[in-house]
Amino acid sequence: MAYNVKEIVANKPSRFMAGHRMCAGCGAPPVARMVLRALHEDDHAVVCAATGCMEVSTFMYPYTSWTDSFIHTAFECAGATLSGAEAAYRSLKKQGKLPEDEHTKFIAFGGDGGTYDIGLQSLSGAMERGHDMVYVCYDNGAYMNTGIQRSSATPHFADTTTSPAGTKIPGKMQVRKDLTEVMASHHIPYAAQTIATANFKDLYEKAEKAIYTEGPAFLNVLAPCPRGWGYPTDDLMQINKLAVETCYWPLYEVENGKYKITYKPAKKLPIEEFLKPQRRFKHMFKPGNEWMIEEFQKELDERWEELLKLEEITNR
């Protein structure tokens, strides 16, 4: 694919406008902007957001950051809400009530709370029913909108307000759910895990594929949160890079059942590099807590090996 991110940024008008109230150093706005940039310019979109940081910060009455049509209903039902809009589109198209040569695309955004947890059923239903839509999870690993409570996406040992690192219990004691795998197991045409790294290439290409693959598609995008993770706001891109280079957040896609790891670090960095700059993992670096880092590394290594095997098996 001929690709030049500078050209895309320069030539395609943004569909996600400045002036929203997302925090400085938040990983989510670049995700929304880049995913929408992957839309063909002639195509209209209906965007649906689950209740969460992104929704409350981008559509506070009477202002909106979304230049396409946008709907928000509640926390747990972006999947179902958008599936209804998509069904309406198919119905009206079929009946000749919408112009044949004009296309509308359907894109949902939800945080990990609205996607991994409370909205999982709604998302699963929408994907299983085969609606032609993309669900984008911006995963910041906790309920950030309500003040950093643990979710099933929160990494092992992380300090959150409902899994505080205390004297008896050192943070979240459970490992995170692997939602990308859960969605891949729906046998949808396209599921991918990506991130807004240095040149946005991976995110842009996967977004375009997701949007223009017929049928349901799922993107899981890691979106760091400076408040919840505890890193200086200007370090966002560095944190993203470390997530990928340590294989904390492997970049891969599952297209019609075939796994493809889209980036393999030449030299996998130790997980400390990713954990160290973040306040939520600070307690893991206290003397006597080395076991936590070891266990974290072991879990990551196992998952990475698993992924390599999946790639091998599905491409035989």
Binding site: V56, F59, F70, T73, C77, G84, A87, A88, L92, Q121
Partner: protein, 395 residues
């Protein structure tokens, strides 16, 4: 010529939906309304409707999908009962606040718990403050007719509110009765096409709906909703008159059965009105001036009209097929009595909670109520107004 048929209440609702031919139906099975999406799926599978049927994984998703579909610019319908409506509850409020004229067939059933699949009105009463227009139906004919009028009311520019048509689970939903259907073409013409002013799929005017709506705005938006509900009264009256012209079947806010010269009367909703009419007739044959006021339009509540219609009576009993568990009385009772109070109509009124969880309501039960009313009419004393009939209890 209208078509004479024999249908159950659920069949009647499904046939109405077929004739309306909505763009999207999203529904999840729940007893006793399951048959509605079942019948409707057959229409979809056989291509007799243009509808996209969304077989959602829950009622919460059913209402969410209806909201998405209606906001997108299409007509969306659903059907549910009891716990299904409870699960939708969050989205019920969102549907009305987004001013989306979604139409629902609610086949009334007891809300858990404990689990019970039979009829009472606890499901409907749970959403009475949710901003939906609520029409109640005595039988399959009324369930059908109310559905045919639903879109005209809900989609009216002065209204733009969702609407639910209620009927009693099993009692009417599963009972086959004679019904007069309107011809397909006439229904199509009467219902008309849906032309929303703003909708998501209008690329010429992208819109955003469902904002974070904080202190400077939410109050005004709620006020607008309240106004829309007030406006609905006039629209319901107009549409009902037009429907009467087409079918000869007259619908008002409520039905007055032998109420004009009555001295005692019952106020109730849905199928119990049928039983009550039978009892009224038998009492009248004995020279007892009994009457009935059957509420069709529960939301908006025709407060002044009901107060006036009951003002000449010597005693009134309001029957609630749902207990409000508030130590004071059922929802319909509270609405009726407060309407009478603010309209300065002083009539002794008592409340009976009855029929909970499908407990059979017989003509003998209704006769008993009229018997109590005769006593109250004589003495003017109501005693404890919060009463029950049909329940076993310690003496």
């Amino acid at each position: 010529m209208s078509i004479r048929e024999r249908l159950s209440g659920n069949e009647a609702a499904a046939i109405a939906m077929k004739q309306i031919n909505p763009d999207v139906v999203a529904a999840f099975p729940i007893t006793p309304s399951t048959e509605i999406p079942q019948y409707f799926s057959t229409f979809v599978s056989n291509g007799t409707v243009d509808t996209e049927f969304v077989a959602v994984e829950s009622e919460h998703s059913a209402m969410s999908a209806c909201i998405g579909a209606e906001a997108a610019g299409s007509r969306a319908m659903t059907a549910t009962s009891a716990n299904g409506l409870s699960l939708m509850w969050e989205m019920i409020y969102i549907a009305s606040s987004l001013r989306l004229p979604i139409v629902m067939s609610l086949v009334n059933r007891a809300v858990s718990g404990p689990l019970n699949i039979h009829n009472d009105h606890s499901d409907a009463m749970g959403v009475r403050d949710a901003g939906w227009i609520m029409l109640f139906s005595e039988n399959n004919q009324e369930a059908y007719d109310n559905l045919l009028m639903a879109h005209r009311i809900a989609e009216h520019k002065d209204v733009l509110l969702p609407l639910m048509v209620c009927q009693d689970g099993f009692i009417t939903s599963h009972s086959i009765e004679n019904i007069e259907l309107v011809e397909d073409e006439k229904v199509k013409e009467f219902v008309g096409t849906y032309k929303p002013e703003h909708y998501l799929l209008n690329r010429k005017e992208p819109m955003a709906i469902g904002p974070l709506d904080v202190q400077p705005y939410l109050f005004e938006h709620k006020y607008q909703q309240a106004n829309a509900m007030r406006n609905a009264k006039k629209v319901i009256e107009e549409v009902s008159k037009e429907f009467e012209k087409m079918t000869g079947r007259k619908y008002s806010f409520f039905e007055e059965y032998k109420l004009d010269d009555a001295e005692i009367a019952i106020v109730c909703m849905n199928s119990t009105a049928g039983t009550t009419k039978f009892v009224v007739d038998s009492l009248r044959a004995k020279g007892i001036k009994a009457g009935l006021l059957k509420v069709r339009m529960f939301r908006p509540f025709p407060a002044e009209e009901i107060a006036n219609a009951l003002s000449h009576l010597k005693a009134v009993a309001v029957l609630d097929k749902s207990d409000s568990l508030n130590g004071a009385g059922g929802a319909l009772f509270e609405d009726v009595t407060s309407s009478m109070y603010v309209n300065k109509k002083q009539v002794p009124v008592v409340n009976y909670v009855y029929g909970i969880g499908g407990r059979d309501t017989t003509s003998y039960d209704i006769e008993g109520v009229y018997k109590d009313l005769m006593e109250i009419a004589k003495t003017g004393e109501t005693g404890n107004p919060y009463r029950y009939f049909g329940v076993r209890r310690e003496k």
